[in-house]
């Protein structure tokens, strides 16, 4: 049987992979995918806590509700973010963060 710490370790590793992608990659779409990985890592730890802390013999459904809300908001966020990326590509013809430096002081 996998213990709670195993789940938290795996979830933390997935978060670290997502963080590495956000910091290292220069393609803005891949940065965006790595943000999704980080959200999913948080979801995994929420579901693990929900299963390992039973209330009246059932999993704690408050945790799973939070996961449900996170997934829905993430879907809305992806739609808006991809629309922004398409608008950005139309005006600048690039999606590499190296070449988007107008906001740099």
């Amino acid at each position: 049987m996998a213990t709670l710490n195993d789940y938290l370790l795996v979830s933390g590793l997935l978060f670290a992979i997502g963080l590495a992608g956000v910091v290292l990659r220069r393609n803005i779409i891949i940065v965006f995918m790595c943000l999704e990985l980080m959200l999913s890592a948080a979801n995994l730890s929420l579901v693990a806590f929900s299963r390992f802390n039973t209330v009246n013999g059932l999993p704690d459904y408050n945790g799973q509700m939070l996961v449900f809300f996170v997934i829905t908001v993430a879907a809305a966020e992806v739609a808006v973010g991809l629309a922004i990326i398409v608008a950005l590509y139309r005006s600048r013809q690039t999606i590499h963060t190296d070449e988007l430096t107008s906001l740099q002081g």
Partner: protein, 198 residues
């Protein structure tokens, strides 16, 4: 869930995640995200969160990643030619990640470890008392099954009804926002075409 299935699914998930960062072609990265999310959905189902596991597949790998692939192919993005310039950003990024993982290991080493409490016929039958007698949830719990979807629906429409309504408004706002963002303003379109003609 037996331990080896957990580690197998965790390996699929982490391997997919690593491939997202490592692969150069954005389409390969998107498919690696799909692999990662399939492993993650397996872990959810192993934690007896069946509904969350299924919507992870339907919403993330079904809708969100197809949207990503659609945008990648729409913009016709080629394989990345230049990667991180210089040594310093790479070292800084990896250092940040290594520091995070080290901190995580320290925290987990101090945390008391926990075994999953059993969910079986006895606990489910005991939980049936908290739900209206004669209802679907109570019947399934008495029969020793975990009516995951019914319980999620029950919680969603009683305790979390107001957040659910707010979520509906958020989705509506996002839909309208996407339409506004992707509509090209006619004035700017004319400017671009006139610039090109010069």
């Amino acid at each position: 869930m037996p331990s080896y299935i957990f580690w197998l699914l965790a390996a699929v998930m982490l391997g997919g995640g690593t491939a997202v960062v490592a692969l150069r072609n954005p389409v390969s990265s998107a498919l690696a995200v799909v692999t990662c999310f399939v492993g993650l959905a397996g872990l959810f189902i192993g934690l007896s969160a069946f509904f969350v596991g299924i919507i992870q597949i339907l919403v993330y790998t079904g809708a969100v990643m197809v949207l990503f692939l659609f945008i990648i192919m729409l913009l016709d993005i080629k394989t990345e030619q230049h990667r991180v310039r210089g040594f310093a950003p790479m070292v800084a990024g990896l250092g940040l990640v290594v520091a995070f993982v080290a901190q995580l290991c320290c925290v987990l080493a101090r945390m008391p470890n926990k075994i999953a409490p059993a969910i079986d016929q006895a606990t489910l039958g005991g939980a049936a008392a908290g739900f209206p007698a004669g209802g679907k949830i109570a019947a399934a719990l008495t029969a020793g099954r975990l009516p995951d979807v019914h319980l999620i629906g029950h919680t969603l429409f009683t305790t979390y009804n107001l957040p659910l309504q707010i979520l509906g408004v958020i989705l509506l706002v996002a839909t309208v926002g996407v339409v506004v963002l992707s509509k090209q303003s006619p004035a700017r379109g004319n400017d671009e075409s006139s610039n090109k003609s010069f």
